[in-house]
């Protein structure tokens, strides 16, 4: 097993991990980032815009990637799995499995392997809304810009067309997984989140019609590099949308699903309403909510701006049922209208479920004294110095709060590693 040494090991290469890594490295420490996917960027790289500024995440990612590229103190490994964490603050040993990319560093990003690949599979980057090849790169802005081959999707009988097509000897279908031991002084868990599985919320009809989608899917549909090149149309028939319903707390604030508030969904929906309204001057948006949670200055102003749009209807009430009308295929949202009293039934073209964030830190192999609470967040005892939970590994937070959390975690990590000589 090969060995590497670093001051700080950051597990997760999304916005929290990237921030922890760059902030610590720019304070003078060596950092290694472990990312389980083939590319850095995590969840934010799948988003169209950030609330409330409506600026593109790729702008900040570009800066962060540049900070990574030009800083010798930062290295990163993709396609990793943490197998074991042992040791203590100052001297952790972490066994990391490096899954094969099947494309080596000779890759120039020329795209020939993709053109040659005969296999198409659902595109996970676009929430399965379109197809990609087995040889692929996620988007024009992927980092590293090095292709990957999804071996599980490969057909064994294609005759290694990708390897044939590559002029640079970059495709290596015999590549094997390896394990590397990383010695680190401190560890940051920036493992992020996944959308709550909307299928588990029986009454909201996810899976019964392609036009009942999640907010994560909506983000892809609205993105210029998404399955529809940013044109918001309903998945079933590609029709332009005239009426869209947004169902808040889809899984969140519900003891049968996620007991906590996911903290981002109100703002995410308000943002997605602006996507719809910008594309369709006549379209109407319905937002069913329990409480509108837009704390602070800019968030509240953003809420007020959306609220003042007369084509946006805010309805306080829990949604009882979302279903497809068998006759028209339209989506019917039934809810109680708490303020008006009584029930309300709205027929829409598409319904977006504002599904909550579920932490993924529990999917990791952690030392036994790091507890996961009933909500799935890491609880690290005060005497456990040296391992720190960041961003959504610790709490459901938005990007701004993830950045704060990550910068603070970088401080704790450098405290552990020790003062610069």
């Amino acid at each position: 097993m090969s060995e590497q040494e670093t001051n700080i090991l950051v597990i997760g290469g999304g916005i929290s991990g990237l921030t922890t890594a760059t902030e610590a490295a720019e304070a003078g420490y060596t950092v290694t980032i472990l990312e389980k996917e083939p590319f850095l960027g995590g969840r934010v790289s799948r988003m169209n815009k950030y609330f409330p500024k409506l600026c593109p995440p790729s702008c900040g990612l570009e800066i962060n990637y540049r900070r990574v590229k030009l800083n010798d103190r930062i290295s990163f490994l993709t396609l990793t799995e943490v197998e074991k964490i042992s040791g203590q603050a100052g001297s952790y040993e972490v066994d990391v499995k490096l899954n094969p990319r099947y494309v080596n560093e000779k890759c120039t990003g020329c795209n020939a392997c993709v053109e040659a690949c005969p296999v198409e599979v659902p595109n996970d980057f676009n929430a399965g809304l379109d197809k990609r090849k087995a040889a692929y790169v996620r988007s024009e802005q992927s980092f590293p810009f090095q292709y990957v081959i999804d071996k599980a999707a490969c057909k064994s009988d294609c005759g290694a067309k990708c390897r044939e097509a590559c002029k640079y000897g970059a495709v290596d279908l015999e590549m094997q997984a390896e394990t590397v031991k990383i010695k680190a002084g401190a560890i940051a868990l920036a493992t992020g989140w996944k959308p709550y599985d909307a299928k588990k919320i029986d009454n909201l009809g996810f899976g019964t019609s392609p036009d009942i989608i999640t907010n994560v899917m909506m983000e892809r549909i609205s993105s210029g590099n998404g399955p529809t090149q940013g044109k918001i149309t309903r998945p079933s028939d590609g029709k332009e949308v005239k009426k869209v319903a947004f169902v808040q707390c889809a899984g969140s604030r519900d003891e049968n699903h996620l007991a906590y508030c996911s903290a981002v969904c109100c703002l995410a929906t308000l943002k997605q309403i602006t996507y719809v309204r910008e594309q369709y001057p006549d379209a109407e948006a319905y937002m069913f909510y329990i409480d509108i949670r837009t704390p602070g200055t800019a968030y509240e102003r953003f809420f007020n701006n959306v609220k003042d749009d007369e084509n946006v209807k805010l309805i306080k009430g829990k949604v009882a049922k979302v279903s497809a009308d068998p006759a028209t295929g339209d989506i019917i949202v039934e809810a109680e209208d708490i303020l008006a009293g009584g029930k309300i039934k709205v027929q829409v073209d598409m319904c977006v479920l504002a599904t909550g964030m579920q932490p993924t830190v529990s999917e990791m192999k952690l030392p036994s004294d790091i507890k996961i609470n009933e909500n799935g967040f890491a609880v690290i005892g005060k005497d456990r110095k040296g391992i720190y939970a960041v961003g959504c590994a610790k709490d459901p937070v938005d990007v701004a709060k993830s950045v704060q959390s990550a910068t603070g975690a970088a401080l704790k990590a450098i405290q552990t590693v020790g003062r610069l000589s």
Partner: protein, 746 residues
């Protein structure tokens, strides 16, 4: 360093299929007289790289021009320690976006060769700016929970800390609390305050020096060397610091302005701050008659989310009222608490605390708009609500009302105070012979308040127009950005937040302070050009003291001496190059980026008598990657435009436009970030300043008989790369309709 040049041209990734490589070699070898010029089928391959490395070690090549792909990829491969490296983007800007093997495509590639080699000729290796001495202490202004947490954060990382608190005691608002919100999972029970322990930790920490009853008289200097004058009870004190954290905290919104909610007219209407005091002293006693309050109504958003008062949400008040409802219930199980809210805002795992309070039958939560508070009999109060559940109006009788007043940052200058200062400044200006503009608003950071910085641009931190006095960052992904390098803000002065949020925020600010000190010590810039060791070098002999650079620097890095000559306080500088763009005398330059370099690059272009020749100056963080992304999609664009990256559009020096147009170049397109509200420029005003400078140019162009439309500024988001080809096509079409630049003939 005596330069020895090597030019290396890659033939891979369709480059050799698009252009004639031999002719590119000729440009390098014959025109530019480069002694070493080589080609390779795949320059980034180990064999290709060996070609370069062997020349560096064997031939003494130290200035490497790589004509291959975008500098955004293969950055590690094409990095040669100790050598200057210039990347020419033949792949994305030619091979992937142009018709193969045409005359115009060839001309484009050859121009990129000429420009790239010229750039390398004008590039020097950076020699970092080093301070002779550096003080690594962190100054923390404010001794509340945020300031103390920041202080401990830096101290425990091994740095000395100077903590200055205005009050006689440390602790701020947190020390006035009866109990605190749950700080950890399961977020159900309120806790005994931990502030005392924090204070003890701070006062006993050997790295922290605490000044209480003290204020900042003045902060002079720059990151790495701040001279701090502190006004203490015992007289003035001096301290030195390398970076500053401002955690000046907040004040409650003035409840006297909430007469409509009964404050000031009925003693039993109190604020949430008063409620903490009452709870701390025992039973929940109402002020009018000392009777125990058994029905306490909490009015949420008292002043917040109200365009007449604070338009924003103060974030902490929902949780605070839930906590105070718990006081009511814990102190007397027969007492009732009513919480009257617009929206219950308990994001994250604090939802669990809300839920636990909902489960208490003695806590009634009602949504509605409070329309008024009036006196009932016996000192009691009626609270009237509209828009409650089912749309009804209801009236609640309570024996005490608590107003959940909001948060105002201590950096907020009240309008009256601002007006007084405006008058004062205008009078001063008039006395010195200036012409004050009575209608021009006074920027709040010009009014001394907390930091008293000795900065030409004003004594306080500039705030965003839309931030209600909070020192929040303009950037979602970079939360600790301020417009004064080395000075960071934390806690409720930055954003309304509760205690747990402040604690987390405080640690991030400590990291940024430490980072700035360490970067300064090594001669690096700080964010966003944290890798940069170049800095603006000024030829002061030619400076006319016009002060444009002093005024336009987004970070207040440029001061003036007694004679009015500007000079950079270098560790304040972020290397954006706005000063370079502002200077009419062209005297500000960087080792790897200069006025002369750009002009020479324009002049290096081959400008034939016929055929459109255009320059595109593009922001390297957003527009340049957008071009790369369009190229990855094999979008085609005009072969007339030669793109050149700039650090920021704020680099635009009007001399460039004159130089370009007088060399016969037909036009210039500038692609930069969105400006105005929610601006996206990471150097604050780069594209906006470029736009202002262009405004001044129009007249000059007119005089030269040149259409002003030849120069156009486009605001483009990095994500809009799919729109780029069309945007460029429109610009080129417009230029095609004009006569060729008449200067072509000269």
């Amino acid at each position: 360093m005596e330069k020895k040049y090597g030019v290396y041209i890659c033939k891979g990734c369709e480059i050799a299929d698009t252009v004639e490589i031999e002719k590119l070699e000729e440009v390098a070898a014959k025109e530019k007289q480069i002694p070493v010029c080589k080609t390779h089928d795949a320059l980034c391959s180990p064999e290709g790289l060996d070609l370069i490395k062997n020349d560096i070690s064997g031939e003494g090549v130290n200035t490497v021009v790589v004509a291959a792909c975008s500098p955004r990829v293969k950055y590690k491969e094409f990095s040669f320690n100790g050598s200057i490296v210039e990347r020419i983007n033949l792949r994305e800007f030619v091979a992937w976006t142009q018709e193969p093997k045409t005359e115009d495509t060839q001309a484009l590639a050859e121009d990129y060769m000429r420009m790239g080699i010229t750039k390398a000729q004008h590039t020097e290796l950076p020699e970092p700016f080093m301070l002779e001495e550096i003080d690594k202490a962190v100054l923390v202004v404010g001794g509340g929970i945020t300031g103390m947490t920041s202080a401990l954060g830096a101290a425990e990382a091994g740095y000395n800390v100077i903590l200055v608190e205005k009050q006689a005691e440390l602790g701020g608002w947190a020390a006035k609390m009866h109990k605190q919100l749950p700080q950890s999972y399961p977020f159900e029970s309120i806790e005994e305050p931990t502030i005392k322990a924090t204070i003890d930790k701070v006062t006993s920490h050997s790295n922290i020096k605490v000044y209480t009853s003290s204020e900042i008289e003045k902060i002079a200097g720059f990151p790495g060397q701040y001279d701090v004058s502190i006004k203490t009870n015992g007289g003035p004190e001096q301290a030195k610091a390398g970076a500053v954290i401002m955690a000046a905290g907040w004040r409650p919104y003035d409840a006297n302005k909430l007469e409509h909610l009964g404050y000031g007219t009925n003693p039993n209407v109190i604020t949430n701050v008063q409620m903490e005091e009452i709870a701390s002293s025992g039973k929940i006693i109402r002020p009018s008659d000392g009777r125990e309050a058994k029905k306490v109504a909490f009015i949420q958003c008292a002043g917040s989310r109200d365009p007449g008062h604070l338009p924003y949400c103060s974030s902490y008040c929902c949780l605070t009222s839930l906590k105070q409802a718990k006081y009511v219930r814990e102190k007397n199980p027969d007492a009732m608490a009513y919480i009257l809210y617009k929206d219950m805002r308990t994001p994250g795992q604090y939802e669990l605390f809300y839920k636990s309070m909902q489960n208490d039958p003695g806590v009634m939560l009602t949504k509605g708009e409070v329309t008024g508070v009036s006196e009932a009999s016996d000192g009691n109060l009626y609270v009237d609500l509209k828009d409650t559940f089912l749309g009804e109006n209801i009236r609640i009788e309570a024996d005490m009302v608590v107003l959940a007043t909001g948060m105002v940052p201590n950096t907020k200058i009240d309008a009256e105070v601002l007006a007084e200062w405006k008058t004062k400044f205008d009078e001063e200006l008039k006395a010195s012979g200036g012409k004050p503009d009575p209608n021009a608003p006074l920027e709040p950071h010009k009014v001394p308040n907390i930091l008293n910085l000795e900065y030409k641009q004003g004594p306080e931190l500039p705030v965003l127009d839309e931030a209600y006095g909070f020192n929040e960052s303009n950037y979602i992904c970079f939360q600790y950005e301020t417009r004064r390098t080395g000075i960071y803000t934390a806690g409720s002065v930055r954003q309304p937040m509760h205690m747990l949020g402040s604690i987390e925020d405080a640690l991030g600010a400590s990291l940024k302070a430490i980072q700035c000190i360490e970067a300064t010590a090594k001669g690096f810039s700080v964010h966003p050009r944290a890798w940069d060791q170049t800095y603006p070098e000024v030829n002061l002999q030619k400076c006319t003291s016009c002060k444009r650079c002093t005024e336009e620097c987004p970070f207040g890095a440029i001061e003036e001496d007694e004679k009015g000559t500007p000079f950079h306080k270098m560790s304040r500088c972020r290397r954006c190059g706005t000063c370079l763009g502002s200077c009419p005398e062209r005297v500000i330059n960087f080792k790897d980026f200069s006025i002369g370099m750009m002009s020479s690059m324009f002049k290096a272009m081959d400008v034939p008598d016929e055929g459109l020749r255009l320059i595109g100056l593009v922001c390297e963080n957003d527009a340049y990657p957008a071009l790369d992304a369009a190229a990855i999609n094999r979008e085609k664009w005009s072969n007339a435009i030669r793109f050149i990256p700039v650090r920021c559009l704020g680099n635009l020096n009007l001399a460039w436009i004159a130089d370009a147009l007088s060399s016969g170049i037909d036009g210039m397109v500038l692609i930069g970030c969105k400006f105005g509200e929610n601006y996206q420029c990471h150097f604050v005003k780069g594209s906006e300043l470029a736009n202002e400078r262009l405004g001044k140019l129009q007249e000059t162009l007119g005089r030269l008989q040149l259409e002003p439309e030849r120069v156009e500024l486009i605001q483009l988001s990095i994500q809009d790369y799919d729109k780029l080809p069309e945007i460029l096509a429109e610009y080129v079409e417009k230029l095609e309709e004009m006569e060729p630049n008449p200067f072509k003939e000269f």
